[in-house]
Symmetry: none
Subunit: 207 residues, 4 copies
DNA sequence: TATGAATGAGAATTCATTCAT
DNA sequence: TATGAATGAATTCTCATTCAT
């Protein structure tokens, strides 16, 4: 949500929306490359091709930039996951689709993966105030799938979907984190990891 | 390894060892509470009851403090895990013991768990240069158990122990991270989580 | 060379040039008064009427400030000497003009003299990396005069102009140094010293 | 003048005198190598083979160390010059002997020369409070020779011995300074410089 | 007397944020 | 609205000096 005042004129909106996105995207690049603490506002501004001060027209401060970035990305992600699950039949395939989607995120944008798996945890304030609700929506979709599986009898009923989604998230997140921070990473590695992940998770839940 | 020169006299060693530990333990408290970036050397010094400069007699700089802290803790942890596995019979029980031990760490020291799950990931430099080898020893013990299970036919042979240990680590680590950052956490929660974790992991590997 | 980015706009240049000079001139005052090591950036900033951080927009660090100051002054000096020698006829008069010019520097700016004679020698790095080349240009003009004197037969030929210029520089520099650090110094003193210097140097070189 | 209390027992005196000298000589080495500001008390202590604190039993503080060093060296130098002049006949030869002695100091101890020509000027406090009187005694011997030369009619009478000794000192000191800071220096260079120096100075004063 | 660990004042430098243009 | 120069608070680290042993 861009701040500038001429937001309510048509071009104003477009112009600002574009600059807003440019800053967001520059900050993703820089945060992913350097980490939050080592990222300088002036570098982000330079990458975005705007003045340092301009960033403060669009974001309250450096923290707000990270939060906004994360919110915006999670929005995309939630949307993407929803689309990915559409047309997939059966809890088993849906669970696999979830894992594939998640690994796909990392393949499509190492930066995003690095940001989410590494930088998101940086600040407790963050984890506590933002991550939980934002992830809630994301994980809500997992819950739905798990519950549907239990309801349909495909998945065993004696586990907490609530707990299991974190188990699953943790394992996926961790292997992505390792993959991202491995300079010699290849797509094939991640595909193999995905196979094993899906296998393990499926065996863990299947009735 | 304390730096001061009189380290090789008997009292010197004791005195310095004690101060070294005091600083280490103060830094654990502060890092866990504030996170690395937000921790100030002067606060650590105050908590340790020493002068700011004293810290630099024992540690090269703030980074070295974190590294040393982590190394020292991981040493303890590796030792603890080794002991925990002794006398436990069978791969199944050993795998469960691993999970119990890991969760036990969090129960025994929320600070340590917070440090490891949150702060350790702070810096890429860190993850790459230190965490990997240190964790390698830790995870090596997991490998041993998993391989023994495969060899004995108790665990299925068609999964990579190498990948599976990261799946398992990620899931445990993640639930601990959530538990740690939950102000309303209770032991019972973690016990229940442990039950489900062990159940899920066991189903994932059992032949 | 000011660093700020808007240096290439007309007002930008003027504004920055002015601030750059203000800092340079403040640092001359403070360096001369306290010596380099005892000079604090914050005092220089205060004298210049800028914030501490502003100095770092214009200079890389404290050392760079000293170097830049010296370079800028030596540029002026070289230019001044060149002008002083123009229109002076004959090697004898030119040699005297050199001495007068040098003493004139001290009379016109005790600060500059103090800086050059005392602080310049502070750091070996400095002497080696900067002073030599910068002074080379300065002393090059001396060489020219001495060689012309030898060529014209006015000065004796059996001395090395290269060595003599250092003899001459050393003696002038030293008496200025003493004069500068003498709180009871008067112009008259330096005039008398100049007379004797010119006399001695002339006798030393004349054929 | 060593401080320790058992100074009045025979061995006490000897032991302390020895340690005092060891510290002095260590400080000369370190000051000459690093310069005053960059020299650390603990490095001097290490070179001297004593504890850091021990230095403070013998010297009031770091400044006192430099002052004491300088005083002690100047004492040696004054003594040496006195001896060098003994048995030299005639003001001309004595003046040459002064120059040779001075250059000899540099040849015999580059460290001493570096200390005197470079570090002595470091602090105005020094130059003003100490250098002047200490050098006074040293230069007093020069005065004597110059005055004797004037009295005997060998040197012209129309110059101030007072001023001339500084001219002479400055020139010698400067060429030594250059020689000392030239890593490729050779004895031959200095001999040639000495020849030219003596020639120039002699022509400047001779009747 | 000798030691060297402990101290903490002090200083350079960085960088998020502001604000005049 | 956009800029980027200016700011100064804040923090790490150094090192002369002290003092308990």
């Amino acid at each position: 949500m861009p701040r500038p005042k001429d937001i309510d004129t048509a071009e104003g909106r477009k112009r600002h929306e574009e600059k807003y996105q440019r800053i967001l995207s520059a900050s993703m690049e820089v945060f992913a490359r350097k980490g939050f603490a080592e990222s300088k506002i002036s570098e982000i501004a330079q990458v975005a091709g705007v003045g340092d001060g301009t960033i403060y027209l669009y974001f309250k401060n450096k923290d707000d930039l990270l939060i906004s970035l994360f919110e915006s990305k999670l929005e995309e992600i939630n949307q993407g996951l929803r689309e990915s699950l559409q047309g997939v039949e059966g809890p088993e395939n849906q669970l696999k689709a979830i894992i594939d989607f998640h690994l796909g995120l990392a393949i499509n944008s190492v930066e995003l993966a690095a940001l989410v798996t590494i930088e998101l945890r940086r600040s407790q304030k963050f984890m506590k105030e933002y991550a939980k609700e934002q992830l809630a929506e994301f994980l809500g979709q997992w819950n739905t799938v798990l519950e549907a599986g239990q309801a349909s009898g495909v998945f065993r009923k004696d586990f907490s979907t609530n707990i299991f989604k974190f188990i699953m998230f943790g394992s996926i997140d961790h292997v992505i984190g390792l993959w991202v921070s491995n300079p010699k990473r290849s797509h094939e590695d991640l595909v193999e990891v995905g196979r094993q992940l899906k296998d393990a998770m499926m065996r863990a839940v299947i009735a």
